[in-house]
């Protein structure tokens, strides 16, 4: 499998490829940390690294807009939210923050099976590649948002508003009780 990957990789001589490998390693490694650490705060910081690595991968995919959005929304928004969640739902002053695992073996089997299936599909499929130059993406995404996907775009904005209100409501309701 690694051999297949190595064969598919472009050039081991290219320094950019090594930078890519560094980002990939960061992503994969921190994802393992997220899954495996016993301390939930570590988990959250590992998730930060994962998100950052993914943003780097987007850069390698010439997806400038999505990379920026990843940094802004995931790291700046969602991760902070998750950290809030961690802080609010755990007694920080306790020595060990509970992050127990249950049925690790079952979980590992299922996760491994999933990975195998996905990897098999990824490697065995004969992808129809489309060599084309990398272009700035924002303009095209903007056109797609305002044209073909306008309705979905509006629906998403309504959904965000609803989520905002709903989250505030859910968080507030407990206080009254």
């Amino acid at each position: 499998m690694i051999l297949t990957l190595a064969a598919a990789g472009s050039s081991w001589a290219d320094p950019a490829f090594w930078v890519f490998l560094a980002f990939a390693a960061m992503t994969v490694g921190s994802a393992v940390l997220v899954a495996a650490t016993r301390n939930i705060v570590y988990s959250a910081y590992a998730l930060l690294l994962t998100f950052f690595g993914v943003a780097g991968l987007y850069v390698f995919l010439d997806a400038d807009f999505i990379a920026a959005a990843q940094v802004l929304v995931y790291i700046g928004g969602i991760l902070v939210l998750i950290l809030f969640g961690v802080m609010l739902t755990n007694r920080i002053h306790d020595i060990h923050l509970s992050n127990e695992t249950t049925h690790p073996v079952t979980g590992a089997i299922i996760a491994g099976a999933v990975f195998l299936v996905l990897a098999y599909v990824a490697l065995r499929t004969d992808w129809e590649l489309d060599p084309r130059p990398a272009v700035p993406t924002s303009q095209e995404i903007g056109k797609a948002f305002m044209g073909k996907y306008l309705l979905a775009f509006e629906a998403a904005s309504v959904l965000l508003l609803a989520a905002l209100i709903g989250a505030a409501y859910l968080a507030r309701r407990g206080e009254k009780e």
Binding site: T106, G107, I110, A113, V114, L116, V117, Y120, V121
Partner: protein, 813 residues
């Protein structure tokens, strides 16, 4: 002026108790009223003069085309080149109505000034427009502002070449007719608003009344301004609705509530016909705008189906029959007099009932000669028919109501006989003198608290302003020379006489018309003599009679002056020109479609008339007797009509005849009711059956009651009986049968079905018990199973389908 509102609100709640129960109007005795006094005189006169000056200023500004405001000068051509001015005129009353309905009671003076100012501003703009069209002086002046409102589906119409999208346009059409109607509506409406400030002062629903008046004004303006039949129909119904609201304004009175319903229902009858007419035109032409319909009809949209075109025109005319109270749908108008008198003046004399006439004017080009003869007959018959009823009416408002029906008949008849300009001119003059008569009668009723003319008399001394203004208007309606009514009525009669030469079918109409003119003079002067001269017949009522406050008298003075002045200047005759007849072109098309057709100009039936029937200078000569003109003349320059000796003769004869007839009527009236040389009671006794016939209005209402209402009621009763006996019996039988059947079914159910069901349930339960171990309630378990399922499905599926390859792959290594 303003003092009487202070207590109007205070005493408001008394009014229905003493006013609505027994009599026409909502006021109690004269004690509450502000009497004619020097205190009210000066501001009233000042306001009136200010209004006249302002109106004249607007008019002359429009005429010069520039509105000078200090150093700035506004070009008034923009009045027509953009739709804004018309939209402002249209929407101001609507806005005012909303303000009145929602905030009226909270505003100072109950907000009467909101509506009055809104309509007054509309009047100012309308006067500017009038001045402008006189300044432009083009009889074919026309501006259209149109947008697409609804665009629905596509289909082919007979008149269109290919697939047409069903589109409903919405737009404004401004031409001379529109502007004249705008002035009529806003002027009468403004004056009635002002008058109502005095007349309705004590009413508890004072602000509501102004709201309704404003809604009516809005609807009427919309009706006049729109450029398509679809919007016309909408506003037509809105006008009907506001009429309904206003007739039943004092709905505590049963008679008012009944009259309200009657007016609405009778109008529906006409409107159904009108709707069918609109649909016919739409189906045949695919057009809704006036211009589109005319163009399409002229281009042969109806093909050879000239009968259909005539029928469509007559159907359309049915709307006018309803709205303009023509025989046999006139029955609602006299009953509508249950409404407050200002309403009668505004709606049931000057504007709404003129909507039917306006409709005929607007749609004139599509009426075929046959349809026009039908229209002339309807109008002529109504003119004399209503006049005879008015002879014997004793209720002052009923006399005026029947005279309105009769005068509307004149207009319709004139239009039908080809007197396009004069028919519409009569609408213009009639609006003013009839509004004046109604407002005057309101003033009288207000003073003596009765509508019965037999209880009046001698009021001239007490109410000089009312008397003189009403007298002027009566002279006008009677057709005395040098009044506006004379000019317009004489125009109609002359054109009619001329048309009758060409169409012998119109001769009876001519007789109706002249006889009606004499009767009109007679009964109108009867009204004047019975009300204002002689000795008071009811002393007590006479005692507390008084002149109305200036807020009521000022509109009377203005309208009374207009009764004399509104025919001045030939501008009207020059600016209102008969449009080219689309029906004539359609007939030419139909002729051309016939096999072996000869050139249509020579042989087409009904094409005998060459010369127009109107005045020598009138532009409507351009198309001659409408519909019957040879197409060759359609494009003739209207300003150089073929000289017609006969037309001139017809008008001279008509003039002499009508003066004679009017003089005869006035004289008879004078000797009967003033000099008492003839005793009307004796004549009534001598011709008792006729008198009874007239008193009972030809039993038309009773006729409808017997022929339509009663059968309808008995049919419903029969239906109800059928329902009770047959349907209910059947239903009950079914119920019984169902009962028996359900017993059988129930037994079967218990024994057989339940057994099966229970068996199934047992199976399901045991299966569920087994499966429920999966239902841990933990989301993670569910997710685990889901993911595992996914893996098994994808991986397993692949494994199964590619088993051979995999094995081969593995073994090869």
């Amino acid at each position: 002026m303003s003092e009487d509102h202070g207590h109007g609100q205070g005493h408001g709640h008394e009014a229905p108790a003493h006013g609505h129960g027994h009599d026409d109007h909502g006021h109690g005795g004269g004690e509450h009223r502000t009497h004619f006094s020097p205190a009210g005189f000066t501001p009233g006169l000042a306001v009136m003069l200010l209004g006249i000056v302002a109106g004249g200023w607007c008019f002359s500004a429009g005429r010069s085309g520039h509105l000078a405001l200090g150093p700035a000068s506004i070009d008034l051509n923009g009045l027509f080149d953009a739709p804004w001015a018309s939209l402002v005129i249209l929407c101001l009353p609507l806005v005012a109505a909303f303000v009145q309905i929602f905030f009226g009671r909270k505003l100072p003076r109950n907000g009467d000034w909101v509506s009055t100012i809104a309509v007054g501003a509309g009047l100012a703009l309308s006067l500017m427009m009038l001045g402008r069209i006189i300044g432009i002086y083009d009889w074919q002046f026309e501006r259209v502002h149109e947008m697409e409102w609804i665009s629905l589906f596509s289909r082919t119409f007979p008149g269109a070449q290919d697939v047409v999208t069903f589109r409903v346009p919405m737009g404004i059409l401004i031409d001379n007719v529109t502007v004249i109607m705008l002035v009529v509506v806003t002027l009468v409406s403004t004056l009635v608003h002002i008058y109502s400030i005095g007349y309705m002062a004590d009413d508890p629903r004072y602000s509501r009344f102004f709201a309704y008046l404003s809604i009516f004004t809005f609807s009427m303006l919309g009706l006049v301004l729109c450029n398509n039949v679809f919007a016309l129909y909408m506003f037509w119904e809105l006008v009907g609705l506001s009429s309904y609201l206003l007739i039943g304004f004092w709905f505590e009175k049963k008679s008012a509530a009944d009259a309200q319903k009657k007016a609405f229902l009778v109008n529906r009858v006409g409107d159904i016909g009108m709707f069918l007419g609109i649909l016919t035109f739409f189906l045949m032409t695919g057009e809704l705008t006036y211009k589109g319909i005319f163009g399409s009809v002229a281009n042969g949209a109806f093909g050879a189906q000239m009968g259909l075109l005539t029928a469509a025109g007559v159907l359309l005319f049915m709307g006018a029959v309803g709205k303009s109270a023509q025989f046999p749908l006139h029955i609602w108008l006299p009953d509508a007099m249950e409404g407050p008198t200002p309403v009668s003046a505004l709606i049931h004399a000057a504007t709404m009932v003129a909507a039917g006439v306006y409709l005929v004017t607007r749609m004139y080009p599509v009426f075929t000669p046959n349809a026009l003869i039908v229209i002339a007959w309807f109008g002529g018959f109504t003119a004399i028919f209503a006049a005879t009823i008015a002879l014997c009416a004793n209720d002052i408002k009923k006399v005026l109501a029947y005279s309105t029906v009769s005068q509307l008949g004149y207009m319709i008849m004139g239009l039908g006989a080809g007197a396009y300009t004069n028919g519409f001119f009569h609408l213009w003059t009639h609006a003013f003198f009839k509004a004046c008569l109604f407002l005057g009668s309101g003033s009288v009723i207000h003073a003596v608290v009765t509508q019965d003319m037999r209880e009046m008399g001698g009021l001239r001394r007490k109410m000089p302003i009312t008397f003189w203004t009403m007298l002027l208007s009566t002279l006008a309606i009677a057709g005395v020379p040098f009044t506006s009514g004379f000019t317009s009525k004489d125009g109609i009669l002359g054109d009619l006489l001329f048309a009758a030469h060409e169409h012998p079918a119109l001769w009876p109409v001519v007789i109706f018309a002249f006889a009606g003119a004499g009767l009109t003079a007679f009964y109108m002067f009867r009204l004047i003599f019975m009300t204002f001269t002689g000795e008071p017949r009811a002393k007590e009522k006479f005692e507390h009679a008084h002149e109305s406050p200036w807020v009521m008298a000022a509109p009377l003075v203005i309208l009374g002056s207009l009764a004399i002045l509104s025919d001045k200047g030939g501008w009207f005759q020059e600016l209102v020109g008969k449009p080219e007849s689309a029906a004539a072109a359609a007939i030419a098309h139909a002729e051309a479609m016939k096999p072996g057709a000869k050139p249509h100009a020579e042989k087409a039936p009904g094409h005998e008339g060459d010369a127009g029937p109107s005045h020598a200078k009138a532009p409507d000569v351009g198309s001659g007797y409408v519909g019957s003109l040879p197409v060759a003349h359609a494009g003739a320059n209207p300003y150089h009509p073929p000289h017609s000796e006969e037309l001139h003769h017809a008008h001279s004869a008509a003039m002499v005849l009508s003066i004679l007839v009017a003089g005869l009527g006035i004289g008879l009236s004078f000797f009967t009711y003033q000099k008492k040389l003839i005793d009307p009671a004796k004549i009534a006794a001598a011709a008792a059956p006729v008198h009874r016939l007239l008193l009972n209005k030809y039993w038309i209402d009773e006729f409808f009651h017997e022929t339509l209402v009663k059968p309808a009621l008995s049919i419903s009763r029969a239906c109800s009986r059928f329902d009770l006996k047959v349907v209910d019996g059947f239903v009950n039988l079914w119920g019984k049968a169902t009962e028996v059947w359900s017993w059988i079914a129930g037994t079967f159910d218990q024994k057989v079905v339940d057994g099966a069901v229970n068996g199934t349930a047992d199976v399901v339960m045991s299966a569920g018990a087994a499966l429920s171990r999966f239902q841990t309630g933990r989301l993670k378990t569910y997710l685990a199973w889901a993911v595992a399922g996914l893996v098994i499905l994808t991986g397993g599926f692949h494994l199964v389908t590619h088993w051979a390859q995999i094995v081969e792959h593995l073994t090869r290594k």
